[in-house]
């Protein structure tokens, strides 16, 4: 008997598996993907924006932009971060423990690597859809409408992966779902708040700002902001993207190693 290569790469077969499960939920999902950022825009952008813009001196801190325009790329990127993180916690534990779908996958000719890469491709799809939805919401406002939103979506997806892959690696060995609440509360939410999405890091104490700079979120936000505000410096863009890439690649490698150990133990 010969072991012939699959016609489609394994990762894409795993993607199909995700898509089938998603078919039942996508409608509610797309709705909340559009509605949530729209609400954030109205609340934080327009509401708080009015307070910020009426305060003399704020516009210098924001580099001359209105507050809404400043926040917009932040929303784009944080949405992808939150989704990439969330979808790499409970669903991964579920695949290993509850529904045990991953065990079903490796019973076929697919491998743990396919599961990890398939999850990555799946996250590209999900984060892409969600950030595109945010971009659509942002395009509804004159102040935030810009062609820079398109590269912004791409950057968001890259950031989404930079969270999804390392968190997947974490989830493989997580003992109970309580630790996910901790990731949510000690990683995702603090980054959402302190990661440079809602104000420049210069507002923060230097130590906190440096921690924020070490995370992929901030790099994504400032890069996306360069595009939406039309202040692109290509060398900086490449540097930021490469830094985010370290998290993506590192996370993928660790996730694959752990997944292999877990599934073949």
């Amino acid at each position: 008997m010969s072991t012939h290569r699959l016609a489609t790469p394994g990762a894409f077969r795993v993607l199909t598996w995700h898509l089938v499960a998603y078919k039942r939920f996508w409608k509610a999902n797309v709705l909340s993907s559009v509605v949530q950022p729209l609400l954030y825009m109205l609340g934080l952008g327009v509401g708080v924006g009015a307070l910020v813009d009426s305060n003399t001196g704020s516009s210098d801190v924001l580099g001359g932009a209105s507050y809404v325009a400043f926040v917009a790329p932040g929303l784009l990127v944080t949405t992808a971060m939150a989704l990439g993180a969330m979808e790499s916690m409970w669903p991964v534990m579920g695949g290993l423990r509850w529904s045990r779908g991953y065990h079903g996958i490796i019973a076929t000719s697919l491998t743990p690597r396919d599961i990890v890469l398939g999850h990555g491709v799946w996250m590209v799809v999900r984060c892409g859809l969600a950030s595109a939805a945010v971009a659509v919401a942002l395009a509804c406002f004159a102040e935030t409408r810009s062609w820079g939103l398109a590269p912004g979506v791409v950057i968001s997806v890259w950031v989404g992966l930079a969270f999804a892959m390392p968190i997947m690696a974490f989830s493989v060995n997580a003992e109970m779902d309580g630790s996910f609440a901790a990731v949510q509360r000690f990683v995702v939410i603090p980054l959402f708040l302190f990661g440079g999405a809602f104000y420049p890091l210069t507002q923060l104490p230097a130590a906190v700002a440096w921690v924020a700079r070490a995370t992929p979120l901030w790099h994504g936000v400032v890069t996306a902001r360069q595009f939406t505000q039309g202040t692109v410096v290509w060398a900086a863009v490449l540097g930021h993207l490469a830094f985010i890439g370290l998290w993506v690649v590192g996370g993928t490698l660790v996730a694959e190693r752990r997944m292999r150990k877990k599934l073949y133990q």
Binding site: R24, F25, A28, N29, L31, S32, V35, Q36, L39, Y40, L42, G43, L44, G47, V48, A50, L51, V52, N55, S58, V61, L62, Y67, M176, G178, S179, A181, A182, R185, F186, I189, P190, L193, F194, F198, Y199, Q203, L204, P205, V208
Partner: protein
């Protein structure tokens, strides 16, 4: 005497052992204390972020005829929101799991416990946990010099009322849920409440839409906590309390009835 009581209130509605439910949760959370502790940090992070990041940008907010620093404006609102969030999460996701997936209530009802014991016990637990957070948040506010008046101590019962209202609403809503996918609805519903309850900017920012804010139950809670912290009491307080209490009682009646219907088929 007890015979008469039976005829007035059906025995399934009898509340005798709600504290047993709380005892069970105390035991269960001994394994998951991290979840309890982490719940405190979420509002704290929001407060720190608003203070450090947005405080400078916004400057002061006109509230109650005075210019109030932004962090002092936001802090009571965050306290009220976290009372809401805590109560909702305890009474939706956790209750749904216990009701449908872990069948904790089925087990409890095979003992002398009644559906009303379960409902009151769950809401009581949500309240207790909420008070724990409220007290610690108050301590943080004090440490950051955000306390405006000694009346602020009344923010604790105010948070208990907010917790009670939202726990009852959450519990009632959960009895209608089909499964985990409906938790999306909860998250989507919470966000506008969080953003548009005069939390991050005063009602005056809404212009002619100011009346819409009145529809949010959280707004009434925020108003109570703010009144406590500013020490300025107006007749409107009675209205805010009445709204929250009225909603709570309606939701509680629905919750007990639905739970009985679900568990005693």
């Amino acid at each position: 005497m007890s015979g008469l009581l039976f005829r007035i209130a059906p025995p399934v509605m009898a509340v005798r052992r709600p504290h047993r439910m709380i005892e069970r949760h105390l035991l269960a959370y001994r394994h998951q204390w991290l979840i309890i502790v982490s719940g405190f940090f979420e509002p704290l992070f929001y407060l720190l972020s608003m203070r450090a990041g947005l405080g400078d940008l916004v400057g002061t907010v006109r509230f109650g005829g005075a210019e109030v620093p932004y962090d002092q404006f936001v802090a009571p609102a965050l306290m009220a929101s976290s009372a809401m969030n805590g109560a909702i999460f305890d009474s939706t996701g956790n209750v749904l799991g216990r009701l449908k997936y872990f069948r904790l209530y089925d087990a409890a009802l095979a003992t002398p416990m009644t559906p009303a014991d379960v409902a009151v016990g769950e809401i009581g637990w949500a309240l207790l946990r909420g008070q724990l957070y409220a007290v610690s948040f108050l301590a943080v506010m004090w440490g950051m010099g955000l306390i405006g008046s000694p009346w602020v101590i009344l923010a604790l019962p105010a948070c208990a009322l907010i917790g009670f209202t939202f726990a009852a609403i959450g519990f009632a809503g959960t009895t209608f849920m089909r499964g985990w996918q409906d938790m999306d609805i909860v998250n989507t519903a919470l966000m506008p409440l969080f953003l548009f309850s005069a939390t991050f900017f005063p009602t005056s920012s809404y212009g002619k839409w100011e009346w819409v804010v009145q529809l949010s139950p959280l707004y009434h809670g925020v108003a109570l906590v703010r009144a406590a912290n500013s020490g300025v009491w107006t007749a409107g307080i009675i209205g805010h309390v009445a709204v929250l209490l009225g909603l709570a009682l309606i939701a509680l009646a629905i919750a007990a009835r639905r739970l009985d219907h679900l568990l005693r088929k």
